[in-house]
Amino acid sequence: MTAAKTYESDWAFEARLRRRIRNLILFSVALLISLLFFFPVYLMFSSSFKSEGEIFAIPMHWIPHEFQGFRQYEFAFESTRLERWYINSLVIAAVQTIATVFFGALAGYGFAKFRFPARNILFLFILSIMTVPFQILVIPMFVLVHQLGWHNTYQGLIMPGLISAFGVFMMRQFAYSVPDELLDAARIDGASEFSIFRRIVMPMLKPAAASLAIITFLFSWNSFLWPLVIAQDRDLVTLPVGLTYFSQSLDREPLWAVAMAVSTMATIPVILLFVFFQRYFIEGMMVSGIKG
């Protein structure tokens, strides 16, 4: 009797021990790798509060010894057109996000719920756009924008990214789930087609629109190649292009602490989106498969 009892508690103890060891191993491996991946981001943040001299201190200072407060941030604003670059990036991203979501929902609803001539051909056209990356279009797009006289203007920066084919595609998938009965009921009540879209369809597409809005904002906020070729005027430059001015100087050592301060500021809006809209953030990335 006692032997059986001991045997059983031994067995339970062993299972618990195995479980503890397994957890400890998983915990340690995950911690090590996660910290390795997190480290450069931490370095960006901590370096933005260091003095230029402390950046290359050996061994590295985990926490700034000569804490600079927001001095590097202030310097970045005072010595460059950073404020303007920040506003440019925000305005461009905001306009493109609103337009992409609105026109995407409008066209997506049109493709999902109406049967009009040439519908399939037009939709195949939209699908084919998704297979062509911007990199390939940059030369002819530049020539087009040049022909339109929009070189070095806000229109030139904004217009090519105003509507995304992926936005139309994604909204179409979600517009299918809007029940036809609901639309027909509204029609019987005498609602116009556009007010049905605005009052019934748009509210039902909200979760998809939130994901689309976040990835469109990120895509625009992070875009580099197009602003690089189209904005010559220093006042038209966006944040990513402005940031390269800090790191590309060939004749002298870049001001690294300032560059890290600007990098941190460029990343803050993305962190805020991630913290407050984590679900839509990750969903948006997953369905799109694009990462700016």
Binding site: F27, T131, L243
Partner: protein, 294 residues
Amino acid sequence: MGLVQKRQYYGLLFVAPAVIFFAIFFLYPIVIGFGLSLTDFTLLKPPVWVGLQNYQDLLNDRLFLKSLNVTIGFVLGSTVPVWFISLAMAVLFFQRFPGRELMKVLFFTPLLPSVVVVSVIWKLLLHPSGILSSVIGPIVGQMPIKWLFDLQLSPIMSVVVHDWHIAPFYMIIWLSGLTSIPPELRDAARVDGANALQSFLRVELPLLKPTAVFVAAISTIRAFQGFSIQFVLSPSQGGPLEVNTTLGIVIWKYGFQFFRMGDAAAISVVLFAFILIFTLFQLRLGRSDDFSLN
């Protein structure tokens, strides 16, 4: 025409803004892109028709051939490791253990800064008097290590930075693939006496095939477009000695530094051909229901 029939035309009205937009900002550029590749256009003087001359010249163009090499190296180097790293991390984060959620967030952070920010951070990390040089230098007995100026090391660093940035993205895709596998299948394999590794290789991995096709295709297509990391990270926009000059950088150089728009357009067409192959591969092997018309 009945009322119901007439109503269907509203659909045309709804899709019209997007369709017109894409006619101007997609169809037209595509057409002139092909057209320009057959001319010697330079922005400064009107284009003159040269036929396939630009394409023929590419066969002897040292910079283009070099960039083809660099791009294929970057595609192979950056895709294969990141598949395994991201899959391994997904399997790890699929297990239950204390502190998992916090570590997942930490692992996810490299995805948040933009590619340009990422490159600037790593430019500091890989500085000859930077942290990585001071930590690894004494081990290999060489100080300082000029990561970004070394002809062998520099392209590897582009791969490292790329994979560090993008691994969390593929990790969440693998993770959602793993989550979608019914737990009964895993349990059944265990009951039949399979150990964790056997159940992973025999049950989970085959079921992850659609995810694998997606990850393989997307990562390859993205790597072919490599531009920003090489542009910002390398000392001279694709250097040293063009070891980081990808097709994307050559397009930019020919187009916007030398204003040889015709050559740049021809290279764009070549790049498009490469990407199209992998897009078709994805469409063929991937879940086709995503692209159904009804």
